[in-house]
Symmetry: D2
Subunit: 344 residues, 4 copies
Amino acid sequence: MKVGIIGASGYGGLELIRLLHNHPEIEQIELFTSSEEGTVFSHKYSHLMNIVDRPLQKIEQEKLVQFDVVFSSAPAGVASHLLPPLIGKGPKLIDLSGDFRLKDVSQYEQWYNKQAAPQEAVAQSVYGLTEWNRDAIQQAQLIANPGCYPTAVLLSLLPLLKNNLIDVSGLIIDAKSGVSGAGNQPSQMTHFSETNENTAIYKIHQHQHIPEIEQAFGLFAHEAPPITFTTHLVPMTRGILATSYAPVQEGVTEAQLVDCLQQTYENHPFVRVLQETIKFGTNQVYGSNYCDLHVKVDPRTNRATIVSVIDNLVKGAAGQAIQNMNVQLGFEEITGLAFVPAFI
Amino acid sequence: MKVGIIGASGYGGLELIRLLHNHPEIEQIELFTSSEEGTVFSHKYSHLMNIVDRPLQKIEQEKLVQFDVVFSSAPAGVASHLLPPLIGKGPKLIDLSGDFRLKDVSQYEQWYNKQAAPQEAVAQSVYGLTEWNRDAIQQAQLIANPGCYPTAVLLSLLPLLKNNLIDVSGLIIDAKSGVSGAGNQPSQMTHFSETNENTAIYKIHQHQHIPEIEQAFGLFAHEAPPITFTTHLVPMTRGILATSYAPVQEGVTEAQLVDCLQQTYENHPFVRVLQETIKFGTNQVYGSNYCDLHVKVDPRTNRATIVSVIDNLVKGAAGQAIQNMNVQLGFEEITGLAFVPAFI
Amino acid sequence: MKVGIIGASGYGGLELIRLLHNHPEIEQIELFTSSEEGTVFSHKYSHLMNIVDRPLQKIEQEKLVQFDVVFSSAPAGVASHLLPPLIGKGPKLIDLSGDFRLKDVSQYEQWYNKQAAPQEAVAQSVYGLTEWNRDAIQQAQLIANPGCYPTAVLLSLLPLLKNNLIDVSGLIIDAKSGVSGAGNQPSQMTHFSETNENTAIYKIHQHQHIPEIEQAFGLFAHEAPPITFTTHLVPMTRGILATSYAPVQEGVTEAQLVDCLQQTYENHPFVRVLQETIKFGTNQVYGSNYCDLHVKVDPRTNRATIVSVIDNLVKGAAGQAIQNMNVQLGFEEITGLAFVPAFI
Amino acid sequence: MKVGIIGASGYGGLELIRLLHNHPEIEQIELFTSSEEGTVFSHKYSHLMNIVDRPLQKIEQEKLVQFDVVFSSAPAGVASHLLPPLIGKGPKLIDLSGDFRLKDVSQYEQWYNKQAAPQEAVAQSVYGLTEWNRDAIQQAQLIANPGCYPTAVLLSLLPLLKNNLIDVSGLIIDAKSGVSGAGNQPSQMTHFSETNENTAIYKIHQHQHIPEIEQAFGLFAHEAPPITFTTHLVPMTRGILATSYAPVQEGVTEAQLVDCLQQTYENHPFVRVLQETIKFGTNQVYGSNYCDLHVKVDPRTNRATIVSVIDNLVKGAAGQAIQNMNVQLGFEEITGLAFVPAFI
C-alpha cells in the first residue's frame, strides 16, 4: 500500500511517519507540503536521517489520487480546501484536523473561527472513533479523525451514558494534557520557561472540542445537553488524563459501571479497564495506542469518578488514524499498532 | 523573637527555614529532631551551608518552652504527642500537619488511620486559615495550619458559598498538585522516572483533606454536604491548581461572583482576583504567599468554573504558618512574606 | 524462539519486555524472580495489562536451560551467581549488569565493591558492543552487555582512537544522563522533588563505568591510559549525551574525523553521523536503538568536540541486548529493532 | 533610591523587578520600553498584579537621567545605543547584555554579529564580576554585568589560574544551562515539546561567551589562551552547572585547590566552597545569589574536576547586577540579596 501525508511537519504528521514505518502493509510513504517543496525531510528533522531522506513534494491533485490512502495532518482550515476534491477519486482520506468533524458547519465557524469545509464534504465524512463507528468507517471515503480530548472523553463516557448508568445533566469533565497537543508552532503558551513548573487552565468554556464531544454524545448515546469541559496544560510532552464526574443513576453500583465498560470493550484490543490501582496515570499508555479506563463510585456522594488516559499523539491522533486506515483497508485492527506502553 | 522548629528535615520545615531567614522580627531559629540529634543541619542539606550550620537538637520540653513560637512540621502522628504538653506553657504553637485540624477525632482516625491527638488539645486548637479566622488566630495557643489542598480550595469557594451564589450540592473539586506535597520520603509514588512525563490521579475519594474541607465549609459558610474532591499529581515540584465546578444560583451572574471574591479579599494582601486571562497557572504565584483566583460562568450550562492557584509549600504550608505567626504576635500580616512570584 | 528474563522488574527488564514483544522471531517470553514468585506481572505493572498477565516464576536451573536465550537484568551482584552454572547448558546468556564486563576481577571488586563472578565465567564472557565485536558475539555463550555510558562513549571515540586521529592523553569525557539509568529503586538521589529542576554531578572520578571504558579502549583501539570521565544527572527520564574533548593529531582535519566515523559505521544501521546541526540532543534517538554522532574541530584550539546520543534504555541496555541476541541467533541485526525515534 | 529598568519584559528584567522589590533601599522602580509604551505591566505579566500596576514608559533621556540607577536588560544591540548618552549624566548604569563586555569591539562584532557600542563607551565600562573587580565597580559609571556562563566559570577557575595551580593549556569547560538563559522569545529551540526530555549541545565552539571568558582570564589571572568551552541545554528553567577539567600543576594537591578557593572567597558572602558531597547540583543555589564550588583531583589522571553552580537569573544576571549596584551606591553587598536557596 502507498500512503501520502499532507502536513508532515506537524506533530501529527511526525507521529504518522513514526508509526507507519513499522506497519507491515505499507510499502511507500510520500510527504506533501504547501510551503517547503524540495526540502529533504531529514534535513529539517534530523531524527529521521536514513529513515525519511526524501524531499517534501508539492501538493498536486494528480499525484495524490495515486495513493491508496492520503492522511492530512495540516492545521485547521487547510484540509477543508484540499481534501474535498479528492473524495471519490481513489484514495481513502483521513483528516486529523477538526475540519470535517462537526456536521453543523455553523458550529465549526463559531468554535474554530474559520470558514467551514463545504457542507457536502462534511456530510460525507465519517467520525473516526474506531470502537464506536467501525461499520461506517469501513465504508468511508473521508474520515474525520477524532480530536485528542474527545477520544479520551468519549471512550470512557459513551458506554455509561448509552446504558443510562450515569446522569449526564450533572456531568463535569476536567481534562489535563501534555504540551505536544498544542502542535509544533512556538508561542508564549508553549515556551519552555513559562510552561515548565506550571500547571495552567486555558480556553475556559471555549475549547473547540466541546461541540465535538456533545455531537458524539448525541450520535452514539442519544444524549445531547451542553457539557462542562475544561482543559489544562501540564508540564509534560505526551499524554491526556481526563477526569469525569457524574451522579450515578438510582441504584446503580460501581460493579455495574465496571461491568459495562468491560463488556463494551471486551472485543476491542486497545481499550483496557483497570480495577485496582493506587496511582493511575498517563505513563501507562505512553507511546502506545491504548486507552485505559478506571471508575470509582464514592458512596458518600453517589457520584462516579471516571478516569481515562491516552497518549494524545497515538490514540489521540496518528495511532487512531492508522487504526481507522486498517479498518478501511480490511487489515486487522491492531496491524502495525501493537506497541507496548513505555511506562518509563 | 526566638522560634523553634520540630521536624526541620521535612519540606515544610525546609521552607519555614527559608522564609523565616528573611523575617525581620526573627532573631533566632533552632531546629529539633527526634532521630538525628547532633547532626549539623548544613551537612545534611548543603544548600544551607553558611546559613544553618547549627546541629539538630534533641526534642526536650524544657528547651521548647523557652521559645516565643514553636512550629512543628513533623509528619502526621508526631505533633499529636509532642505539642499538647506545651499548650499554655509559653510558646505559641503552630502545627503544619493534620493532627489538630479535625475537631471530630474519630474522623481523624478514620481518614488518617492513626491515633488522634487528645480531644482536649484538639478542642483548643484554632484552624489557621488566616483570611477567614483572624480573630481566633490572634488568641490561639495552638494553631492547626491548613492543608495545602484545603487552602487553595477554601479561599476560592468560601466567599461564594457563604454568600449563597453557587449551589454546593452540585460542587465538584478537581485538584492538581506538584510532587513536593508528598514530602521528602522517597517512594515509588515519587520516584523520578515514574513521576516525570506522567499525570496521575491518586487516592480517589480517600484523600484525608476531604473531611478538612467539609469541616471548614460548615464552620465558615454553614454548608456541610459530602463533597467530591479528587487529587492529581503532575510532573512539577511546586504548585497547586484547584478547579472547582458548581451551578450558579438562579439569576446569579459572573460579575456577581467576581465582585464577591474581590470584596471578600479587598483588605487581604495575599489573595488576588484575576479577571482577564488566557492561561492561568501555578507559575504566577511560584515562591510567593499569594493565592490567585479566577472565575468564569458558562452561559451554556449556567455553571461556574472557579480556579485557584497557590505555591503548596508557601501559602499551602510554611508561608501561611508564618502569616499566622505574624497575626499571633501582632506583626503586620505581610511581614517577611512580601515575596514577588518568580513566574520563571 | 523462547526467551527467559531474570530481573524483569528492573527498568532494563521492562524495556526488554517492551521491545521483545514486537520481535517477530520471539514466540514466548517468561519472567523469573528471586523474590516475587507467583505475582502476576501486570498486577505489579498495570501498563502491561493484557500483554504480560503471566505470573513471575521462581528461578530454577532446570527451567532456565529450556530457553533459547536467557537475559538477566538483575542488579549488579546477582547474575554473577545465577548465570555461570548455565554456561554451555543450552541457552545463550546475555547479562545487562556489570558482572561479567571487567576481565580483571579485582577491578570489579574495587569499583563495584562486591564479590566478582568466578574468573572462569568472566574469561568466557564476550563484551557485547555489537558494532565492534560482532564475530565474537556470534560465537558467545555469555554476553556481557555494555553499560549505558560506555556504549555512548565507545561508539563515538573508538573509530577516532583506533585510527589515531585524536590524542587520548588529553581526552576528557563529560556525560549527561536521564534518571532512568539509576534504576527503579526509590532513593533521595532519584526523588522527584530533588531531581526535577536540578542538574547535578555525581560519583566524581568514581563511576564504575570508568574501568569498562578503559578496558574497551585497550581491547578495540590499543589505547589504555586512565581517562577522565564524569557523569551528570539531568531532569529527564531517558537519554544520554556524552561530550568528549580531545586534541586532534597534528594535521588532522574535521573532515577526516567525519569521514572516519562515516566509514566505520557505513554498514552499521544503528549508528548515524550527523554533519550540520544547530542543536544536537537526545530526543533525536528517543525510544530507538540509534546512536547518533557529531564532531566539530575548533580551529582556535585544535581540539575536537565529539558528541554522541543514545536512549540509555534501548541502545544503552535492552535494545543492544536484543541486537546481540539477533547476532547470536543469526537473525538480521535490525530484526525487531527498527523503531523510528520519537523526537517528541 | 530610584531605579529605572529598560527592557523590563525580558527575563533579566522580570528578575530585577522580583529582587529589587525586596531591596530595603529602593523606593521607586520605573519601567521603560521601546515598543509597548502605556501597557500596564501587570496586564502583560499577571503574576505582578498589585505589585507592578504601573504602565511602561517611553524611553526618554530626560526621564532616565533623573534616576539613581538605570538597569538595561534589553537584548544585545540595544543598550549599545541607549546607554552611552547617559554616561556621566547622573545615574549609575548597569547593562545586563553583552554590549559593553568585550573591550575589543571587533571581537564583539565577530561573535555577536552586530554593530558594537562606541569604542569610548566600551572603554569606560567596568566588568561587573563583583568578587574580582570590586574597586573598579565602586567607581564605575557604566557596568557591563557578566554573562551567566562566564559568572559560573570565572568564579570557579580564576583563583586556581591566578595562583597557577592548574594548567590552562589543558583546560576544558563543559557547561549545562536551564532554558531561561535563552530569554523570553519563543522559538523552536525553546519550544516545550522539543526541549523537554531532551539534553542538547548547541552553538559548538561559537558561543559568544567564549571571548568574554578569555578576556577575563587575561584581566584577572594573566592567562589568555583560546579555551574550549561548550554549552548544553537541559530540560529545566533555572540553573547553570559548569564542569571544568584541567591538569593540576606538578605537585599540587586537592587540599591546595580547596584551600585556594576557600581563601579567595572567605570574605565574599555569595561564594561557598563545598567539600564533601555525593550529588552536587543546581538546586542548592536555586533562587539565590550564591555560587557554590566543588573541586576534586583524580589521583589516576592528576586532573582536577572543578564544578560550580549558580542560578543563571540571579547570580548569573539580576542578582549580580544588584550586588554591583550595592557596591556602587555604598550599601552592604548582601543588601536585599540574602535569599536562602529554595532547594525544592
